[in-house]
């Protein structure tokens, strides 16, 4: 508009790009120089996600086995429900865990709210459907007659489950990696029950969220690049596993 004080749009975009490129340059410098704060957040995020994935695997791979190997009415409905829960909103899970851990909640006396343990609890709940559902799919995808063959050769129920799990190991590993991927990249649970406390519960996603709000673009971009790398590594690992299985 004639007489306006705001700079032309092209100039505005150019300034933003310059700003972003500068931030990216600083971010790369932080990553390459081994910036302590950036790497501490990364390490904490990966540790929390790994703990969540490990706990969820220990709890929910057996649950997937139980559903797969047990004959009961409504089995298909249970499988369908588990798959529906893949996309449960992270803030919904965060809210549930918050209500459980808050002072007036059923687990309030444990004093876990705003701690890494609370984030782990939330992430376990968040990725439980993914790990259970994909384990179920993995077991269903094994060759028909595998469990029966095992039984006819004299295997106990437990040994048969181990054999089928071993045959489905690549698909089960994929389920675990998918769970880790969801845990490492979620933000709702970490913010709601972790509280984004610096040096204690701050994770990659919550730090990015906070940094952007405070205008700390360079640090946010550095953390974003690292988060992207972690997510891509998981994705590549899943692809490699699936290619190996096909081959």
């Amino acid at each position: 508009m004639e007489g306006s004080f705001s700079p032309p749009a092209r100039e505005k975009t150019s300034n933003t790009m310059k700003h972003l490129l500068e931030a990216a340059r600083i971010a790369l410098g932080m990553i390459l120089s081994g910036d302590g704060a950036v790497y501490a957040i990364t390490l904490r995020t990966v540790l929390i996600a790994l703990t969540s994935t490990l706990a969820a695997s220990v709890l929910f791979i057996p649950l997937g086995c139980l559903v797969h190997f047990t004959r009961f009415k409504g089995k298909r409905a249970v499988s369908g429900f588990i798959q529906t829960m893949y996309s449960v909103p992270t803030v919904f899970v965060g809210m549930l865990v918050f209500l459980m851990l808050s002072r007036s909640g059923p687990m309030g006396s444990m004093g876990l709210l705003f701690s890494p343990a609370a984030i782990v609890m939330g992430e376990v709940l968040l990725i439980a459907p993914v790990i259970t559902g994909l384990t179920l799919s993995a077991l269903s995808g094994t060759r028909e007659g595998l469990a029966d063959t095992s039984r006819t050769l004299g295997a106990s129920r437990g040994r048969t489950i181990l054999l089928v799990l071993s045959e489905a190991r690549y698909a089960v590993l994929t389920a675990v990696l998918m769970g880790f991927g969801r845990a490492v990249s979620e933000v709702g649970v970490a913010i709601m029950v972790g509280g984004n406390i610096s040096g204690y519960t701050r994770t990659l996603t919550t730090a990015i969220s906070l940094g952007i709000g405070k205008g700390e673009t360079a640090e946010s971009i550095a953390l974003g690049i690292i988060l992207l790398l972690v997510a891509m590594t998981v994705s590549i690992a899943v692809n490699l596993i699936q290619q190996g299985r096909v081959r």
Binding site: R143, D148, T149, T152
Partner: protein, 349 residues
Amino acid sequence: MILKLESVTRSKGGNRILNGISLNVHKGDFFVLMGPTGCGKTTTLRIAGLLDPPDSGSVLFRGISTRQPERKLLPVRRKMAMVFQSPVMFSGTVYFNIAWGLRIRGIPEEVIRHRVDAITELAGLQGLLERNTESLSGGEQKRVALARAMILEPELLILDEPTTSLHLSFKKELLEKIRELHRETGTTILMATHDFQDALFLGTSGAVMNNGTIEQSGSMESILFNPQSNFMADFTGAGNVIPVHFHGDTAVSGDLRVKHTGNRNGAGCIAIPPEVIVLSTTPGVTSERNRFTGTVTDMNRQGRTWSVTVDVSGTLLDSAVTQGALDELEIRKGSTVYLSFKANAVRVF
């Protein structure tokens, strides 16, 4: 008696698959369960192999009921082994597959290696032990599955259609291996097949199933030579099944009067195997009690022999004739021929 099924029934998806099956398998038997595809053979084997429970009826293994909790059933199941129609190989080598059943029983590795070597030789799998099972042919996989089951030295080995989908040469080889394994080890075998020729080659006794029921059981000879129903006559390839009315030792169908060695009256059926009917172009002198004159109506090659159809007093009879005999007789469609067969070759039911 090693296995006894009593009045076993089983339904699936609202359909009755088995209608009160009863079977007796004796120690050392090669018992063949025969019947067309879909008659319930596999369902029967799965119940016999304790993979599925019957809806009603009982399964006794060495006289002991198998209606027990899964935990208590394991020692019983470990006395059996089963090979499926399409065997499933475990990921890994042939050695891993064959040794698997012994490993889960906690047998020491050196004993396992010794037994694997022995069974490998018997099953003709030398040189394949280190091969990955994914690279095996269908026939090799079936032999590995057989060795994997046989190495457990089961008291009862259950085989479900072991030669299905195999090339003829592999099929013959596998049948010979199975017969050799049975003879060398004396293991009781319960095998299902829809191929009557396979059953005759291997079986010592058996049963024929039809629509979820046992049509006839007994020794292979009695099944082959004494079919007791139209279905049995058809299944065993008795040929020339004719509905008749019996008058003592004579079976009458229209103007055809056939002598047999029985003595019965009323309605029934006879079967005259095509291979017992002798054709000639001259009346000749013969001691056979059944002699007829007829006209050749059709001639079809069936493998190494010819099936010559002759119209005898309005009844069509098939006769199996070799190529050499056909050349010698010089018969063709419309030729007048003389047929003769013994009374004791006529099957009555």
